[in-house]
């Protein structure tokens, strides 16, 4: 534990140091490749941190970090609901495709194709459709997040279910286990490491999906709203956007760690099998 805290702090120190060093070298040398380095493109780390604790210029409201914290909670709600929907749909699709080969041939191309459509094109359609059904706007965002998360879960569930040890299947047949039993007592538990590695990817993807989905939904309460807003004023206050990025990253990392924690509890494997 102490070691991992020390490692984290060291990595953090190297990143901050690297950022400042890069800034200093490029500015002093006057280098312009690959981009011009100045206070707009790369603000000082300390100005970013200061921005987090500054009150709004209007004088009303909390310091930025508190506002961003509330925004992060709002985005997290969308992301978690989206993650739950996406993971469930992905898991069911994986099971259906693995149990019925015909459906796999039918579904898989569309599952893959769904991810080649840019999320920015899908998001407004989802918002308009669900909006016409009087669904709350945040739920539309959750659906957009689900759209990004179901894919890795579906693909990895399929792969996990199909990589079951052949002799274990034979053993289940020897016990006269029916297909349902083979699925629940063997294939699904055996696929859990695959499913969890997809869930880790899905956890971060759901945050990205929620943030992207907030823009076309005109939601102001989440991190996406802040990012759109700060983006417009980037030349004036670049540190605000950077500060928001840091909070968004922290949110993604927290969600990722929650999934890793759940995996540690659920997946009981030989130590060398845990990635």
């Amino acid at each position: 534990m102490a070691v991992s805290v020390a490692t984290t702090l060291t990595v953090l120190g190297v990143l901050v140091g690297g950022w400042e060093l890069y800034r200093w070298i490029w500015i002093t040398a006057g280098w312009t490749w690959p981009f011009i380095v100045d206070d707009t493109s790369m603000p000082h780390i300390h100005t970013i941190v200061q921005a987090l604790f500054r009150r709004p210029t209007s004088g009303v409201g909390d310091v930025l970090v508190i506002q961003l914290f509330h925004a992060a909670l709002f985005t997290a709600k969308e992301a978690v609901v989206g993650f739950a929907i996406g993971a469930s749909v992905g898991f069911l699709l994986g099971v259906v495709m693995s149990e019925w080969r015909v459906l796999q041939r039918g579904f898989l191309p569309y599952v893959v194709a769904s991810q080649t459509v840019p999320i920015l094109a899908v998001a407004p359609i989802v918002v308009v459709y669900l909006g016409s059904l009087n669904v709350a706007a945040w739920f539309s965002v959750a659906v957009i997040a689900a759209y990004l998360t179901f894919f890795p879960v579906a693909i990895n569930t399929l792969r996990g279910l199909q990589s079951t040890d052949r002799r274990a299947v034979e053993l289940m047949h020897a016990f006269a286990a029916n297909r349902w039993r083979v699925l629940w007592k063997l294939r699904v538990p055996a696929a859990l490491p695959f499913i969890f590695s997809a869930l880790r990817v899905a956890a971060t993807a759901s945050i990205v999906g929620a943030i992207i989905g907030e823009a076309p939904s005109s939601i102001q309460d989440g991190l996406g709203g802040y990012i759109v807003n700060f983006n417009q004023y980037y030349t004036l206050n670049p540190q605000n956007l950077w500060a928001t990025n840091i909070v968004a990253a922290l949110l993604g990392i927290s969600f990722f760690l929650v999934v890793v924690g759940a995996e540690k509890i659920v997946v009981r494997r030989a130590p060398e099998h845990i990635a």
């Binding site: 040890d165 020897a174 039993r181 538990p189 859990l192």
Partner: protein, 260 residues
């Protein structure tokens, strides 16, 4: 009534048009310990799987406990042990042993009682809460045997169960297996490619030859039970080992080519 009765059995694999087994006739009586021995590709594992209805024969009949093999499998008439223990990593040892009992719909209390009995039988008391990866290879194999015998099947099928273990562990488990066989009163069909193991364990050794897989000879083993470490030093044991070896070599075409 024979526990296993095989008549005019032939197995042809469509892929590659290989005749894996040809004209197999074999009857195994209650309480027997029959080993199937032969070089790789003689179809001994295939024969075991056909008895267990895990592979369908191309022609011929297989009955287990007087029933067609598929019926016997559905009725849980046999237990099976593979070369790898094939334990489920996500289950504790006790839950691995309980797996077939869950299939039979036994309730928790009854399962626990039987699992305790089986753990005592294979001398793994106190390891129930361990996970399989925390056990040695020999212990894992004992768990696999306990699992196969959990619902007290009349027939135990074993496919090279000790093939992956070192010689010392193997010899110890051979003795363990004889004790378990005696205690459980089951009939065993045992696939191996070790002559010593086959002779030491069996009441009869079925010697098979490859391409196509046939029964070359059946050697009755008249060594008295209980057998122990001293059995391996008796002259009769060596005679029988020699007899099985010669039957194996006669059955294999490759060995009929004289050495220049």
């Amino acid at each position: 009534m024979s526990v296993v009765e095989i008549k005019e059995l032939t197995k042809r694999f469509e892929r590659g048009n290989v005749v894996a087994l040809q004209d197999i006739e074999l009857a195994i009586e209650p309480g027997e310990f029959v080993s199937l021995i032969g070089p790789s590709g003689c179809g001994k594992s295939t024969l075991l799987r056909i008895i267990g209805d895990l592979i369908k024969p191309s022609s011929g009949t297989v009955t287990v406990n007087g029933k067609p093999a598929p019926r016997a499998r559905a009725d849980h008439d046999y237990g099976i042990v593979f070369q790898d223990s094939v334990l489920f990593d996500w289950r504790t040892v006790a839950k691995n042993v309980a797996l077939p009992l869950e299939m039979l719909g036994w309730d928790r209390a009854r399962r626990k009682e039987r699992v305790d009995e089986m753990m005592t039988l294979v001398e793994l008391q106190g390891f129930g809460d361990h996970h399989p990866w925390q056990l040695s290879g020999g212990m894992q194999m004992r768990v696999a045997i306990a699992r196969a015998l959990a619902f007290a099947p009349a027939l135990l099928l074993m496919d090279e169960p000790f093939g992956a273990l070192d010689e010392m562990t193997r010899e110890r488990l051979n003795m363990e297996l004889l004790r378990i066989w005696d205690a459980s009163k089951s009939t065993v069909v045992f696939v191996t490619h070790s002559i010593a193991e086959a002779v030491f364990l069996s009441t009869r050794v079925v010697v098979m030859s490859p391409r196509p897989g046939r029964i070359a000879d059946i050697v009755g083993i008249d060594l008295p039970y209980p057998r122990g470490a001293q059995t391996r030093e008796e002259p009769r044991y060596f005679e029988l080992v020699t007899q099985v070896r010669e039957a194996l070599h006669l059955g294999s075409d490759l060995d009929q080519v004289p050495v220049q």
